[in-house]
Assembly symmetry: C2
DNA sequence: TTTAAAAAAAGGGTTTTTCCCTTAAATTAT
DNA sequence: ATAATTTAAGGGAAAAACCCTTTTTTTAAA
């Protein structure tokens, strides 16, 4: 009986081997390859004609992360199913991974049996989603997004506003008049409902516009 | 031949089982128990007289984390060796774990063979440190730490300074004169080498005094 | 293609907040 | 009692915040 071929992309060797063992213990699956990162995977795909059925993909990896790699796969090998396997459970990461084309998203604290079920489902139906992920999906649709859009200059200004530069210095850096910068400031304070530069900086950090 | 007894404390079930399998495959070790968090471990210790030789301890766990749990073990069961097993490789976490009494610190990307070596070393010599961890240790000793100490009021002020409150409002909240607050501000600017409130807020976030 | 509307960039000027230096009283430690 | 530390406070300059107006550029429409 033919087994489905699995590739694991995961930079933590111990975990990679461990998942490999578990998957190998399933009747219908066999691990054909372990990759340390996305780059390694894309190279393997180029130099070989053995194509896996499912890829178990970590997200936080050096060199080429899970989201980038999944995008690449969706583009170049749309028939290969990607199942994300990560510790990240924040909405943003989950959504970006699904948008990139992942067929499912498992948290690393799943049980063996769920992993097996997920693999079978992905093969059979093309997708597998736990309740957690479905909730996140629903939430992202229902919860009126609002998602404020920024112009390029506004983003640049916001980042400078998170530094110790004065507005005058920011103006110089951006080759604009201090008065224009003051305009940006005023517009953004209104848009974001903040009272001062500290509020702006905190907004920037919370929304990952600026990383401290 | 008697095998050394290992307990694994790890909230991610998949990883927990996986590590369990690996450890069971070693000749000299057997896993006697898996715990989801520190609390579970302390309860097991109270209700049983089977004491393990080594505990493989994750750090990020709900309810009772690895550092707290290690502190508890160091106090109540100093003979049980704790080997930290984590993805966190930042200096701060490593140091806190070692200070709590861990005998070694492995990153989760270690190979099987290293894990076995670490377990054997911990049993034999009482400790095991990889080069990475030794480097961090050295760095923390050599690199003049400076580690700025804050008074309680300073910490409270710093956190308020990360909000949109004016200094006057902060003064009211803290039942102090605005001029006293201004004093705090000035002292802290000097201590931390920042130029303005934004700099102070960013310092607070970088050093985990304030979480945005 | 000219014209109208909208958005971006600047300017002027006022109020408030921040920042910095210095001094003094009150508290705490030696 | 004396020395440090903490708390409080004044004066003044700079920066930030705010509001309203004008010019320039971009975009859309007639």
């Amino acid at each position: 009986m033919k087994k489905y071929k699995i590739v694991i992309v995961e930079d933590h060797l111990l975990l990679s081997q461990a998942i490999g063992n578990i998957v190998d213990s399933f009747d219908d699956f066999e691990v054909i390859c372990l990759c340390n990162n996305g780059k390694e995977l894309t190279e393997k795909f180029s130099n070989s004609d053995v194509i896996p059925d499912v890829i178990l993909m970590d997200i936080n990896m050096p060199i080429m992360n899970g989201i980038e790699t999944t995008e690449w796969l969706t583009k170049h090998h749309p028939n290969v199913k990607v199942l994300a396997l990560s510790v990240e459970d924040d909405e943003d990461t989950v959504l970006r991974m699904l948008r990139a084309g992942a067929k499912g998203y498992l948290l690393k604290d799943v049980e063996k049996s769920i992993l097996e079920e997920a693999l079978l489902e992905v093969i059979k139906n093309g997708f597998y989603h736990t309740k957690d992920v479905t909730d996140i999906l629903m939430n992202s649709i229902c919860g009126e997004q609002e998602s404020i859009q920024f112009k390029e200059n506004e983003l640049i200004f916001i980042r400078y506003a998170c530094s110790e530069m004065t507005y005058k210095e920011i103006a110089e850096k951006m080759f604009l008049s201090p008065k224009t910068i003051d305009g940006y400031r005023q517009v953004l304070f209104g848009k974001l409902g903040v009272k001062n530069r500290i509020g702006l900086a905190m907004y920037a950090i919370r929304n990952k516009i600026f990383m401290p």
